[in-house]
Symmetry: C2
Subunit: 335 residues, 2 copies
């Protein structure tokens, strides 16, 4: 396994990335890692004599304010653009992990990295925790704001294989995000996608899902066009974050509440850990020939290590070969 | 003011509706109310000698499981269908309040009640509380799963006038729901809508909004196509409800937490009240000639009374005349 790690662009700086890589290097002794970023700063974080860790020097970094297309064109020396180039050019490289801006990563990877045979468009698949202690994948959550029914079907196939490979789900329960649960709900895109999903033997399709049920634990994968998927993921995260902020503020508003909160300190810590989606792994771009994992911008070393484990699981289970096999069977069925 | 109240289809039965009407009848002595539903059950809730309250007998009720079009066709004797018919036929009736299923109400009202001059499609506009103690309207949240840029512009105009009329917002800050804040984000629909909104003098347009910022208090109105608006509203509500359920469950899991929660009882009650969107009024269908307000299915008497107050505010401020005036100026500008 050879992974390229873009070490700049995250909130915690390169130290968290390097530390995560060092932890993983211990667990995967045969693995090679290529760190991309300012060489001096990376060297400063590395102990002497790391034989399986290379560095590619990149003096620049992309930021969340960069427009994706501009960043790719105008920042060729940024760690992310150089990391994607290295992934493309190094035939032995298997995948890329980045904690930098999502939009730039998706754009660069979609433009520069080839697709798995049969894949129409790569799709972005973050994972959220459900309220019963499980997880749910959302695919696509923003790589494709405009979709066709066939693309939604492919998202379902790719997402199902991904959940089997990286989260040991046997028969992932797949739902289609819609405005109601009945089959005829939504616009033409969603009605047509429903029909395709219902016929697809490779997908355990359980019907339409309303967004309010995302965290219910009844579904393993939610398939959506990138526009509404983006709305879904960000509103779920936003509401949880805002609500916990409000509760915290309210606790500090009164002495009595502060005392009560002392009794519940552990519980609130646990809620915080529970809602920290870093613990559930990075968001994967599905459908590219090489593995692309986006860690959260605020990823710490543990989160980076978790992304590396995820890449190892995906490689170890031949995820991309399985996706190609599934899609090729289907392409024949379309004809 | 003459309002028709569909008293069946809500979770709390007709008693809550009748009680809400009786409370409002005291506050609006000149108002007339028409209760629709099973006559015997309604009579049982009414005190003797209510002069300004009529009853229309409707032996049947629609349910959340009814498909809207089927319900309208197959349940002509249901309280909701009869209420919409009464609103259409009674020239003196100003509006309708219902706590029954949203989908049937929107479908029946859209089909049977005329539109304000110049309105392309009515839009559904619920109100949610923001974390700084304010409110935000979401328009459209599901009446139109397919939209044009011109429709989104009309939603912005109607929603702005509504927030001025019913919530005393002077210059409502209007955002467009999108996958990012930059002008060129999203698909053609959203880019074109952005351009129209930016040019529109009648709308205080402040730019694109990502769904994670819905509750931030930075916006008074969020304009969206009905599909993503539906995803937004239901995921926001769903996440808040699921999270509070989880916290409650976790509190009950340990004696220590239960003790802590005793200190915070008042705070949790306050959070519950805060999140109970009944307290912020019903969801309004904007663009119909007569006022249509959908109260939450679990509305109690207070929530029903609040819907009636909302209708009074809308009528008292000549909302529909203002919408017509704004839209007619614009239609000329299009030519």
């Amino acid at each position: 396994m050879k992974l390229i790690v873009d070490c700049f662009g995250g909130d915690k700086g390169p130290a968290a990335c390097v530390e995560g890589v060092l932890e993983a290097a211990g667990a995967y002794p045969g693995a090679e890692f290529v760190l991309v970023g300012d060489e001096d700063r990376l060297r400063a974080e590395l102990p002497d004599g790391c034989k399986n860790i290379e560095i590619i020097h990149a003096p620049d970094a992309v930021s969340g304010n960069d427009k994706p297309i501009d960043a790719i064109r105008l920042k060729p020396e940024s760690s992310m653009v150089k990391a994607v180039r290295a992934l493309r050019e190094d035939k032995t490289a298997d995948g890329l992990i980045s904690v930098g801006p999502t939009g730039v990563l998706i754009a660069a990877a979609t433009l520069r990295i080839g697709r798995i045979d049969g894949v129409r468009r790569p799709a972005f698949c973050p994972i959220l925790p459900t309220m019963n202690g499980g997880i749910v994948g959302i695919c696509d959550s923003g790589a494709n704001v405009e979709c066709t029914p066939e693309m939604l079907l492919q998202f379902a196939v790719m997402g199902s294989e991904y959940l089997k490979a990286a989260f040991q789900r046997k028969e992932p329960r797949v739902a289609l995000l819609n405005v109601g649960t009945e089959e005829e709900k939504g616009d033409d895109l969603h009605r047509d996608a429903y029909r395709l999903l219902k016929q697809e033997a490779a997908v355990n399709f359980v019907g339409n899902m309303e967004s309010r049920d995302l965290l219910s634990g009844k579904y393993d994968l939610v398939v959506c066009d990138g526009f509404s998927g983006n709305v879904l993921v960000k509103s779920t995260e936003g509401t949880a974050v805002e609500l916990m902020k409000k509760i915290k503020k309210d606790i500090y508003s009164k002495g009595l509440y502060k005392i009560g909160a002392l009794f519940m300190k552990k519980m609130f810590e646990e809620e915080k850990r529970f809602m920290n989606y870093q613990n559930y792994g990075g968001s994967v771009l599905l459908g590219t020939e090489k593995i692309i994992i986006k860690g959260h911008g605020s990823s710490d070393a543990t989160a980076v290590r978790r992304c590396i484990e995820q890449a190892a699981d995906m490689l170890g289970s031949d995820l991309n070969e399985k996706i190609a096999a599934r899609l090729n069977i289907k392409e024949e069925a379309y004809v």
